[in-house]
């Protein structure tokens, strides 16, 4: 029987094939080239500012060439650390609820609200914390900044936890329950134990996202050139705020330092993302060995 399909690929189809390939390559280039330019630009301009004293000295007046980023760097770490302390238990807990009680109405509704929160303008989150915490305590603080950042982190952690726990096969839950293990222990030890790579990945991505946030900090942590001695009653600096402040200052010394701070921030991001790759890569090798 003769096949109804043509035996030879027509010239036209060959041309279309080539054309589509070229289009896809152009799209990839358009997506990647700006990133390369940004990275290159930050690297070139930032590298001039970065050295050990830059990392270890306090911010200085715009007239000084020797100002550093020590206190804002510590400020960023402090607030992201505090925010992680708040958001990891809440986010992982919420994610466990979304995944393990996915049949309940409450889980569906709160899962939807979680998704809304993920896409919420972070400036508005900052405004909310400003009204609730800053106005009540009558002070900008690391605590207020951390709360605002945890609003950014919680929905990310909750959703990635939910998704990685849903990937854990139900047969493992049943195997554990059938051994007479209570449900909560099955969830903590077996389900989270099996899906922990995904949970950890979500946490690190949330940390990276929070480290790069500026908007939630403007109205909550505000800015300071000094180390904070109290986390509740004094403003605190951050890397992102420094970049925003120095970058828009018009003072050439500060602009150079803003590029340096941007380079440090990007290196932190890169490190966090590489860490995620390593974790995922390692768990894949384990899975392949298995």
């Amino acid at each position: 029987m003769k096949s109804i399909l043509p035996t030879q690929i027509s010239l036209w189809r060959k041309i279309v094939n080539k054309l589509m390939t070229i289009l896809v390559i152009v799209a990839v280039a358009l997506a990647v080239i700006p990133l390369i330019f940004i990275l290159g630009d930050v690297l070139l301009r930032g590298a001039a500012a970065v050295n050990l004293t830059f990392l270890t000295s306090l911010p200085a007046a715009p007239t000084s060439k020797n100002g550093g980023i020590a206190s804002p760097l510590v400020g960023s770490f402090t607030m992201v650390g505090l925010a992680s302390l708040f958001s990891i238990p809440i986010g992982v807990g919420a994610g466990m609820f979304f995944s393990e009680y996915s049949w309940s109405k409450l889980s569906t509704v709160s899962g939807f609200m979680n998704d809304v929160l993920t896409g919420f303008p972070s400036m508005v989150l900052g405004l909310f914390v400003f009204v609730v915490i800053v106005l009540t305590t009558k002070s900008f603080s690391a605590f207020a900044g951390a709360v605002a950042l945890s609003f950014v982190m919680i929905p990310i952690i909750a959703r990635t936890t939910d998704e990685s726990l849903k990937l854990v096969p139900n047969t493992l839950r049943e195997a554990s329950m059938a051994l007479g293990v209570p449900r909560w222990k099955t969830t903590f030890r077996i389900v989270v134990g099996t899906g922990k790579t995904g949970v950890l990945t979500g946490i690190i991505l949330a940390v990276a996202r929070a480290t790069g946030e500026t908007a939630p900090l403007i109205l909550t942590a505000f800015w300071s050139t000094h180390y904070a001695t109290n986390l509740f009653n004094q403003p605190i600096g951050s890397l992102t705020y420094l970049i925003y402040l120095y970058g828009t200052s018009g003072a050439s010394n500060w602009e150079t330092q803003a590029w340096g701070a941007a380079l440090i921030l990007i290196l932190i991001m890169l490190a966090l993302n590489l860490f995620v790759k390593v974790i995922i890569g390692r768990s894949l090798t384990e899975a392949r060995m298995g």
Partner: protein, 275 residues
């Protein structure tokens, strides 16, 4: 649904209460056991007695409710959203569905082996074997090692894994994984072991090994095994129950059920006329 009902009428299904058997030492007994998923009634009232220290095979065509039935016996069925159970399951004189019985405690006395091998992927062979003990708070290292070896020996796996106890459980072959799951179920020292088509994902050689261990186990445990495979039921079981469309059609000694089935349906199923 109507299609199935019509078929039932045509084949002249007997009333479920007709299965009257009396075995004095029943370890587990079901009384008018009904199960449903939402509105669909999967089990329509099953009365069965499982004699102690024996292997009982539960046969029936796909979708007849045999898996649901055995999942009712350790209260795993009710974990599925929308699943409901009515009737009684009596073990040693106690209805395990009575409100003052803790299902978690019941599941420690009634172990289960699933259709597909499901070792915990993050755990070693050793940790898989004692997972039920560790998760239930047993810390005594000596006791754990003792029970691990004993359970692995009972599952006929010890000789194959004794030098690799720290390797991941998922590194074993399919058949070995299933025997690991049997060992894991045995380690918590249950009285009854439920097996839901434990060999359906295994090749004949692996199946033979699992069957070997099942037969050896009945001196210590009461075993209830769901199987698709009639030869398997004939090979390893002492008693056989035939379930069709959520009802018990026949129960008796395996030899009798296979050689002179009382019910026409059973005979048709055994001779391969449907299924």
């Amino acid at each position: 649904m109507t299609k199935i009902e019509r078929r039932t009428q045509n084949t002249g299904m007997p009333h479920p209460s007709m299965s009257k058997q009396d075995f004095s030492t029943a370890k587990i007994e079901t009384k008018d056991l009904k199960a449903r998923f939402g509105k669909v009634e999967v089990l329509k009232g099953i009365n069965l007695k499982f004699p102690e220290n024996s292997v009982t095979a539960i046969m029936g065509p796909s979708g007849c409710g045999k898996t649901t039935f055995i999942r009712c016996l350790n209260r795993i069925h009710e974990l599925t959203p929308g699943a409901k159970v009515e009737g009684e399951v009596i073990m040693d004189g106690i209805n395990i569905y009575s409100p003052n019985v803790d299902p978690v405690a019941i599941r420690r006395r009634i172990g289960m082996v699933f259709q597909k091998p499901n070792p915990f992927p993050t755990m070693s062979i050793y940790d898989n074997t004692v997972a039920g003990l560790k998760l239930n708070g047993v810390r005594d290292k000596k006791k754990l090692e003792e029970l691990a070896e004993r359970s692995l020996r009972m599952a006929f796996l010890w000789d194959e894994v004794k030098d690799d106890l720290n390797k991941p459980g998922t590194a074993l072959s399919g058949g070995q994984q299933q025997r690991l799951c049997i060992a894991r179920a045995l380690a918590v020292e249950p009285e009854v072991v439920l097996m839901d088509e434990p060999c359906s994902a295994l090749d004949p050689v692996a199946t033979a090994k699992v069957e070997e261990s099942i037969v050896a186990l009945k001196k210590d445990f009461t075993i209830i095994i769901v199987t698709h495979n009639m030869q398997q039921a004939a090979r390893i079981s002492d008693f056989t129950a035939f379930i069709y469309l959520g009802q018990l059609i026949e129960f008796g000694k395996t030899s009798e059920v296979f050689e002179k089935p009382k019910n026409e349906l059973t005979e048709k199923y055994i001779t391969g006329k449907f299924g």
